[in-house]
Assembly symmetry: C2
Homo-oligomer: 152 residues x 2
Amino acid sequence: MNHDDANICRLMKGPQALLASTGYLLARVGSESRRLFVQALDERDLTLAQYGVLMILGELKSASQRYLAGATGIDPRNLVPILDALENRGLVRRGSDSTDRRRHAVALTPAVTALLVKLSRLRAQAVVELLKPLSATQRHQLHGLLPRLLRT
Amino acid sequence: MNHDDANICRLMKGPQALLASTGYLLARVGSESRRLFVQALDERDLTLAQYGVLMILGELKSASQRYLAGATGIDPRNLVPILDALENRGLVRRGSDSTDRRRHAVALTPAVTALLVKLSRLRAQAVVELLKPLSATQRHQLHGLLPRLLRT
DNA sequence: TATTGTTATACTCTATAACTATA
DNA sequence: TATAGTTATAGAGTATAACAATA
């Protein structure tokens, strides 16, 4: 039958060659996570990038675009239209920096706090779905390892 | 000075909010890995997707496009132009399947074996670079956890 | 009717180059 | 001269819809 291909694939999840490379696995799992996350955020018409910006501003209250770019991993030039969208929806405000007139002091508008709570719930659900195959201990292990791999 | 932003970012790697979500971390690290990988493959004018196809065919000798799609995570419709490119460069051949005339039996050409060796070296270098912040034990841990998260 | 491969298309993400205004 | 923000643009990745050939 023509189910063969699909079955083999489901059981082995591809040949050994691809499973041997941690880098390839990270890229694949990352895409998977991204897809699940994007799907969840879609209910609120938000991008993964937009979400990252909102989360950071939720803690810092105000940041330059340069900082936001570094913290989210988004390139500064690609951050521009992202902030434009957020600003048009009234979720974010580009103020002026008193110490350097080149900089914009980006901050959340008061309206966003309710949204952030809902987003946390959506995010949590997506993560639970993704990490379902792992035990609690394994989830903890994984979470401990990943931050070390993030660097500029 | 205006180095402050960059320094803070490098030290904390972004605020706690983003570090709290395993899903977000996986997406970020996955992008990082992807970027490093793509950069390495670029020296041979290859895409990450093309690389995945080559690796699988290197083990299976022959596979249907449907199978390749499943094993690489590439959508079947997007696989078409990828195979076109590989075929035009003489790296891959679309043969006919004797048991099902709808299927193409995709296989490597003999010329590719030398290329695959060089690719393994490039891949290894990229992974070493990415995983540099981890100890050998941690690398092993991470590699063990990731395959569990891959599923159709 | 379901499946394999295909096309056309569109939308997002990422990256290259160059500009402006400020420092 | 260097930096913060911006624009235009092009490439790759991904997704929606529909089709022809074959099972």
